[in-house]
């Protein structure tokens, strides 16, 4: 019966999984919270950085195009490679994890923010200027709200990606559900190994779904009816 852990898929597995979850409820709750919190914070920071960058470049067509391209190219950097690079100055733990995730969280949002800000109708911006709204006020009260639906789509893409990628930070002893998956995989065949990896994966999927639902709700509450 050595193989029970992973070879027999069936009712028994589900019962064992349930037992595992029941026995580890406290630590699972904590890890889930950690994972969600890490994802939330990094997406928030990444989004803010993306909006600032987009606001700096969107009025310059050439720089905008350059920013768009580089943000897409940067997405192809393997997350593990970036993590490894960040260990050099920051060591193991939360700091490199956070920086890597915030960086990747920023990338999809930059593209959408630039495109969103650039697609605000010129007539709207001209009339805003024409009635004397200062530049910063136009950005904050006219352009960003009109670009918001597009930016929010970017945030959703970013969130889905980050909740998944966040598992990797377990490699550098970062926080979150990744430790369950990596522990399980490392001890595959051992007691509770499969349960551990499986639980970690399922919880990550659940976090992603809940975040997406929350973002859809946020859209309902914050996108002006005038834009639909």
């Amino acid at each position: 019966m050595r193989n029970v852990g992973y070879a027999t898929w069936g009712w028994e597995t589900i019962v064992q999984l349930w037992d595992y979850i029941g026995n580890n409820a406290r630590s699972l709750t904590f890890l889930t919270y950690q994972h969600a919190s890490l994802s939330f914070q990094t997406v928030l920071v990444g989004t803010l950085a993306a909006i600032v960058i987009a606001a700096l470049v969107y009025r310059l067509p050439l720089v905008s195009a350059l920013t768009l391209t580089s943000s897409r190219v940067a997405l192809t950097i393997p997350s593990l490679a970036l993590l490894a690079l960040l260990i050099v100055p920051f060591g193991l733990g939360v700091t490199p994890s956070f920086l890597m995730l915030a960086f990747f969280a920023m990338l999809p949002v930059i593209g959408n923010a630039v495109v969103g800000l650039r697609s605000v109708p010129p007539a709207v911006v001209e009339s805003a200027r024409g009635i004397g709204l200062p530049r910063w006020r136009i950005l904050l009260t006219v352009e960003l709200p009109i670009a918001w639906p597009v930016i929010l789509t970017g945030i959703r893409v970013s969130t889905q990606m980050i909740v998944g990628v966040a598992a990797i930070v377990a490699y550098v002893l970062g926080p979150g559900l990744g430790s369950l998956i990596f522990n399980g995989l490392a001890r595959l065949g051992g007691a509770n190994a499969l349960e551990s990896a499986l639980t970690g994966t399922i919880l990550i999927v659940i976090i992603a779904l809940v975040f997406d639902a929350l973002l859809v709700l946020l859209g309902r509450l914050t996108i002006s009816k005038g834009l639909s």
């Binding site: 709207v124 004397g132 709200p145 009109i146 009816k225």
Partner: protein
């Protein structure tokens, strides 16, 4: 209000010497362009070369010209959306070329084609944009919003909380005007404001603008490519040719009578005779009084009243005197009370409308007459096609030169002239006929 009791308080300016409306209110300020030049980098010719222009307070001035003549550039230099390369611009005597551009623009109304409303804000929020920035309190902004919506002819209860996308182009344009007037600026700049609406709506919006101007006395500068619109709206018309060169700057009557240059003559075009229809206002023609009845009045007394006046039809009006329908006596007698039926094809023009608008309206609704309303939309009478034709006949008689020989005066054989051929190009022409 322009009634005579308040008129003496209005500022007396030199402008009134040239204007027939000597009792008008003036709250606007004069605008003076002094040697204004706009040059764009990389272009050999300036977009606007050395333009001097004086616009009197309380006037509507229309800038017209072909595209590329610099009319929009000139307009946008007044509120410095485009910075002049050289020259000075004065509004009410103060040099605005040194002012903070945002602060300057807050004191100048600006309207663009199709309104340029903020799509994510309600009408109320759109109109309150500048007052909010000027930190007015909420109650004052609300009052101002309601006043302005009323002024532009939109019911505040219906429209204040609407979103721009739920309104027609004409309604959005009205909100655009209301927003521009929000902080009560002395000067209003309009960049082809009525370019994107259908002709009937355009005529209505033009009439509304004239009514607003008469009530408020702002200085209005309007850019248009439509000479007819310019003659209808403008106290003065500025005709520009390429490079912002002034071809003529004069009241529309004068431009039609004495075009200053061949360019003007060509621009005004063969429509000049018809353009007189644009110059003649509905108020210049005899308006027939009409019998009116309120919704809900007893039909019997209304019919008696109509017959007593010698008419066989009447106008049903609402509580504000605005017309809803114009039934015949027979139609009224089918119901015990006057109905609140709203006739969707009721032709209505304002007193400031041109005869051209009136004819347009009659043709569009296939009616032999139009109802005429005052500045608040209340009916004041009717204009029949017969009275319009009489006016046209009168004008044609004026236009006809004395040296044309009539049928009676013609002496046989003095001037043998061939019969001119008037035929469409696509009809097969007679082979012997001139080609």
């Amino acid at each position: 209000m322009t009634d005579s009791t308040t008129a003496p308080t209005s500022k007396t300016t030199t402008a009134q010497a040239s204007s027939q409306r000597s009792d008008r209110v003036v709250t606007g300020e004069s605008i003076r362009l002094d040697g204004v030049v706009k040059r764009y980098r990389g272009q050999p010719k300036p977009a606007v070369a050395k333009l001097d222009l004086e616009i009197e307070a309380g006037d509507i001035v229309a800038f017209v010209g072909p595209s590329g003549c610099g009319k929009t550039t000139t307009l946008k230099m007044i509120n410095r959306l485009i910075e002049p390369t050289e020259g000075r611009i004065y509004i009410g005597g103060r040099d605005v070329t040194e002012e903070n551009p945002d602060r300057l623009r807050q004191s100048i109304g600006y309207v663009i084609q199709s309104g340029g409303l903020f799509p994510h804000w309600s009408v109320r929020k759109n109109i309150g944009a500048v007052p909010r920035m000027l930190k007015w309190d909420k109650k004052r902004i609300d009052q101002r919003t309601e006043y302005l919506l009323d002024l532009v002819g939109l019911d505040p209860a219906v429209f204040a909380d609407r979103l721009p996308k739920d309104m027609s182009g004409g309604q959005q344009q009205r909100v655009g005007v209301a927003r521009a007037l929000a902080a009560d600026p002395p000067v209003l700049l309009m960049d082809e404001p009525f370019g994107a609406v259908d002709p009937i709506t355009r005529a209505r919006l033009q009439d509304k603008l004239i009514a607003i101007q008469q009530e408020l006395g702002k200085t209005i500068v309007i850019v248009t490519h439509d000479f007819e619109e310019a003659t209808k709206l403008g106290d003065k018309v500025l005709i520009l040719s390429e490079g912002g060169h002034v071809e003529q700057y004069a009241p529309p009557e004068e431009i039609l009578a004495n075009p200053a240059t061949p360019f003007v003559e060509e621009f005004v075009g063969s429509g000049a005779t018809l353009a007189h229809l644009t110059l003649t206002r509905v108020r210049d023609v005899e308006i027939k009084p009409v019998v009116t009845a309120r919704v809900g009045e007893a039909s019997g007394s209304v019919i008696a009243r109509t017959k007593a006046a010698g008419e066989d039809w009447l106008v049903v009006v609402d509580a504000h005197g605005r017309p809803r329908s114009w039934p015949t006596i027979d139609e009224v007698s089918t119901k015990p009370e006057v109905s609140d039926y709203l006739d969707p094809r009721l032709p209505v023009v304002a007193q400031s409308s041109t005869l051209n608008d009136a004819l347009d309206s009659m043709l569009a609704t296939s009616q032999g007459g139009v109802l005429v309303t005052d500045g608040h939309g209340a009916v004041v009478g009717a204009l029949t096609i017969a009275s319009v034709m009489e006016k046209i006949r009168g004008q044609l008689a004026d236009v006809r030169d004395d040296d044309t020989v009539g049928y009676v005066e013609h002496t046989e054989g003095t001037a043998p002239v061939e019969t001119p051929v008037v035929a469409a190009d696509d009809e097969p022409a007679d082979e012997t006929g001139p080609r």
